[in-house]
Structures are given as structure tokens and as C-alpha cells.
Symmetry: C2
């Protein structure tokens, strides 16, 4: 049972190793009889081609690198499901690279990825900086390796193919909803940390607010729950507010808790909306209205796009925007 090699198969099937290789990779090039014989032997011996030898000889790895920040973000994890499902269909393996550590600079990781001879890179990192973006572009060009940005946006640039949703439009729509309910003091609660994606949500918010001739009010909070609570309490003490749009569901829920402690009625006194539509949006009380982001699809479509690129298939749409929707539940009128 200990790993059979292609030689063992060739011997047992009474053919050359070239024929074994063909039977596996180009079945149509070998006579049906011999092909079947070879395949049968492969079965019997439980033979699986050594991935290293194959990769070395063919210069293809059928492996893609997926680079992510912090796995524990719900969105990242769910995207991975989509990625993995599509990867399986197209027979690609996934090499996972989790960024997030200061000690290993991203450039080193990218070099490691190159050394790993991956056929493509799926890059999910909505905190992408200009420097990182430029470096990615350089990698792509120098090594001729396809890269797809998934749910990570670098504005005004389509050098690297990407798939995401129109966050600005989504931000606009959800703000509009609150405006249409007659709310006048609508806050956007964003993050102190810089995420491109959140910038776009803010931009959409701003557009809607300005159109309605209201006053834009953006508050930035940390993602940490305990801090949020204090922060909200403090901040809203002196402010009038009748609408809140949070860039993440969890922030919206966090805000609602504070609101409840202060005995304000949702949605009557304050309308609240989140972003993402995690399962906790349903678990919250009142159930949270929010933008639904098709996270799984983002991963799946990103991976699919990458497979096309790797196969040199023609790709018309290099920047794909998936449709989103607004889910209205109990925190809006």
C-alpha cells in the first residue's frame, strides 16, 4: 500500500511510463484497450501521481494560493467555502496564507507563494494599501501569474481583475431607505481602521445624504465590542440621532444594545441598518435590516474567474460586480 510510482504501474500494465502518463492526462491519445488496462492497474495499486514530480515536470501545480487576513472574520470564512467548492470542481488545491502578522512582511509571503509555484492567486484583503497593490501588480507582471482580487477593492484601477459588489451603491440605497422613512439625523458608524470597502459605503452614504440636503455625520469606532459600548454611550449623549447605518452587522447590534439600555425604541425612534446579513442579523432582536452581501458567491465567482485566467480563456469582464440586495426586517419602518 505504500505509495506506488508510475514505474510500478507501467510494469504491471506492461507499457512504458509515457503511456501511463498519457492514460491519465490525455486519455484520448491512447488506445482504449491499453487505456483501460492501465486505469485498472492504477485502481488496483491505488496509484496517485506524486504532486511534486508532476509539478516539477509540467511546470503547473494545479494549486492556487488564497491569501487572507485574519480567518476569523465571518466574511472571510464564508468566502472560503465558495472558493473551496469551485476549486474542487476544477481540481485545484488551495494553499492558504494568512497574513496578519507584523513580523512576516507581506512581500516575503508573496515570494513564498511564487516559490510554491502556484498557478494563480486569490487575494482577499480589504485593507489593501497602495504599496501592496503595486507589489501585487508587479508580481503579476513579472511572473505572469494570474491574480484575482476578491471582495477587495482598489479604487480607480482595473489592472488586476476583481470581483466584489457595488458597495457605494449599496451604501447609497440603504441610506436612502432611512431617508425615505423621514429620518433627519442619520449617522454612519464606520471603523477607525481603514478599509477600502468601508470608504465606499461611506461614499454612498454621503451621496444620499447630500442629495437629501441633510447633514452627513460619520462616526468611527473600533471593532471591539466592549469599547463600542462606551463609545456609543458617550457619543450619543449629546447628539440627536434617528438613524444609524453600521458598516458591519455586529456594530449595528452593538449599537442596538446601547440604545436599548437607554430605552430608545427601535425602529420607532431610531432606525438601524447593518451590512452583510450574517446569521446574527436574524438572531438579533429586533431582527436587523441590512444590506445582503453575497459572500459565498463572491468567493465562488472569484475562484471561477481565476480558473478562466489560468486556462487563458477569454475574459470579457475583468471587474465584476455581483448584485446585492437590501433585506428589510424589524429595525426599519
Amino acid at each position: 500500500m505504500s505509495k506506488a510510482t508510475i514505474y510500478d504501474v507501467a510494469g504491471a500494465a506492461r507499457v512504458s511510463l509515457a503511456t501511463v502518463s498519457r492514460a491519465i492526462n490525455n486519455p484520448e491519445k491512447v488506445k482504449p484497450e491499453t487505456r483501460e488496462r492501465v486505469l485498472r492497474v492504477i485502481q488496483e495499486l491505488g496509484y496517485k501521481p506524486n504532486a511534486f514530480a508532476k509539478g516539477l515536470a509540467s511546470r503547473k501545480s494545479t494549486t492556487v494560493a488564497v491569501v487572507v487576513p485574519d480567518m476569523s472574520r465571518a466574511s472571510i470564512a464564508e468566502m472560503m467555502n465558495g472558493i473551496a467548492d469551485i476549486a474542487r470542481v476544477y481540481k485545484y488545491s488551495i494553499l492558504l496564507y494568512v497574513l496578519e502578522s507584523e513580523d512576516t512582511p507581506e512581500e516575503d509571503i508573496l515570494k513564498e507563494i511564487i516559490a510554491a509555484q502556484v498557478d494563480g492567486i486569490l487575494y482577499l484583503n480589504d485593507e489593501i494599501t497602495e504599496k501592496q497593490y503595486e507589489f501585487l501588480k508587479q508580481i503579476k507582471d513579472s511572473y505572469q501569474i494570474p491574480i484575482v482580487l476578491t471582495n477587495t477593492i482598489y479604487p480607480e484601477s482595473d489592472d488586476i481583475p476583481s470581483v466584489s459588489i457595488d458597495y457605494k451603491q449599496a451604501g447609497y440605497e440603504i441610506t436612502k431607505k432611512l431617508i425615505d422613512e423621514g429620518r433627519k439625523n442619520i449617522y454612519m458608524v464606520s471603523t477607525v481602521r481603514k478599509y477600502m470597502v468601508n470608504d465606499l459605503k461611506e461614499a454612498g452614504y454621503l451621496q444620499a445624504i447630500e442629495e437629501a440636503k441633510l447633514e452627513p455625520k460619520i462616526m468611527r469606532t473600533s471593532g471591539r465590542i466592549s469599547i463600542n459600548t462606551e463609545h456609543f454611550n458617550e457619543y450619543f449623549k449629546g447628539h440627536r440621532v434617528d438613524g444609524v447605518i453600521a458598516v458591519r452587522d455586529s456594530i449595528a447590534i452593538s449599537f442596538m444594545n446601547v440604545a436599548r439600555d437607554n430605552e430608545v425604541k427601535i425602529p420607532d425612534e431610531i432606525g438601524v441598518c447593518g451590512f452583510q446579513n450574517t446569521k446574527y442579523a436574524m438572531l438579533a432582536r429586533p431582527q436587523l435590516s441590512c444590506v445582503d452581501v453575497p459572500i459565498y458567491d463572491l468567493g465562488a465567482v472569484g475562484m471561477r474567474l481565476l480558473t478562466k485566467l489560468m486556462n487563458n480563456e477569454e475574459v470579457v469582464e475583468k471587474v465584476v460586480k455581483l448584485p446585492h440586495s437590501i433585506v428589510l426586517r424589524k429595525t426599519t419602518l
Copy 2:
């Protein structure tokens, strides 16, 4: 900039490729001067050894396979963080395999993993069946490849090293807490789907209940939120209940929502506890008391154990249980 090979380095440094290889892998075996020269050239050329050639020649991949069901489970994602951090420290790459599809049987995936020549396997799947367990054991023995079960338990067997927490004890303790509050009708809400881990929580619950001479009551629900709601409403209509222990935080929260709709006071009328201590336990109102499972550590320790096994270091403890704790918040007295 396009990938330099070891030959290029050897040429530029005026040494043989054997020396280059040594300078990288066994620096102490080469004279400091030449070593430095070689290393400098490597820098200049941006040389990175081809992982395939290296793997093929050395029969080691410095790659581990991590096999998981469904990434989107919060526990899996957080464990991945721990795994990735430790993997990075010990310079291992991660090949990710997501199970979950009916069409690709697990055995095929495991064979693929073998073909990928990984040095070790980290297996996270708390739905492990006897068949799967036996197959894993066979893989481990046939191919002499280290495997570590992480947060996945197969009872009464230590053939495969594992790291987890003592779920039975945790179940016992959390139940005891509710009993000590004087509750008499304590339910455990578990899942219809079979998870070893949940069986153990139930066993702990049962033990505590029996010690206290109370009547054990286990209800099984699906994980789906919408179904839960109906289910709970229906189920508890005719029942007395003053305590609920859910095998997952989200189920506990789900239950609390139904309780609130029925205007029962938590924790006064019903004490509620969850398992895991996800961030949503803090986001829930009232804030959820629960067993804290050190998820990140589980992943980190599992990976660390695997590195030891791969290096043939001596391992005393083949079945490690990490400490857990009980976090008391507002859903208990």
C-alpha cells in the same frame, strides 16, 4: 526578475549547486565566507528554491494538510488562525481541504492529500464517524504520516493523537451551575445531527442531572435559526422549564429570543447557558453565560503537536486536553 534557479546562483557565486544548497539548508557546513557570498547572490537575484524540486528531491514538503468541514463555522475559522500562526513560526505551508460535499468521498480527498506529499495532517471534523476514523488510522499507518485530531473526538481511542477540551466535564460543570441555582427542570438543547462533541456535552449534563436526582431532558433541534424558533415555541408550550443549556451559543440566543417573545424573564424564570463563548455571547441581551472554549489555542496547540510529531520529537501526552472555563454573565443568577 523571472525566477532564478539554483544554477544561476551557483554561477554568479562561482560555486557548485551543492554548495548553494548547503548554504541554504545546512549553513554550518559551509565556510562563512562562501556562505555569505552565496547568500548575497541569493538576495540579489531574489532567488527562492522551487518548492516542487525541493519536495521531490528531499521527500519532504514542509506542507501540512488541514482538513475541515464547512469553513463558515465560527469555531473552525478561529482555529485556522491558531493553526496558521503556528505553521508560520515553524515554516509550514497549509494545504486546505474543505470536506462537506457528497460527491467527493472523503477517501478520495485523503488520497489526494497523500499524493500531495504533505508531511502531516491536521484533521478537524467533529462529525467523524467510525469509518472515517478507521480510514484515518489506516492512512497514518500505511504511509507513516503523522495525524492530529483537533477539537474532534473519537471516544475511547488514542490511536491518533488529539487535542481538545474535556467536553464532558464542561457539560457537567455548566449543568451543575444551573442546579446550584436551585433549578429543577433543566433542559439540554442539542443537535439532531450527530456530533461526538455534543454527545460528550450531553454525557456531562446527564451525570450532573443524575447526581442531583433530577429528570434528564434532552431536546434536539436543527441548527437552522428559523426552524429553531418554531421548534422551541412548540416544544416548550406544554413543558415546565427553568434552565436551558445549549450546545452552541447561537442556539442559546435563538432560544432566548423565543423566551422573550413569550415574556419569560431571563435569568429569573429561566437560566440559559451556551457553549463556546463567541463574540455574539457578549452581543446578546442579556449577555450569555457560557462555557468558554479556547478555540484559537486548540488550533495552535494542535498544530504545535503536529510539528513535534513530524520532527520525531518525543511526545509524552498524545491526548491533550486544554483547560476550559465557565464565563458567568447575565443569563444565570
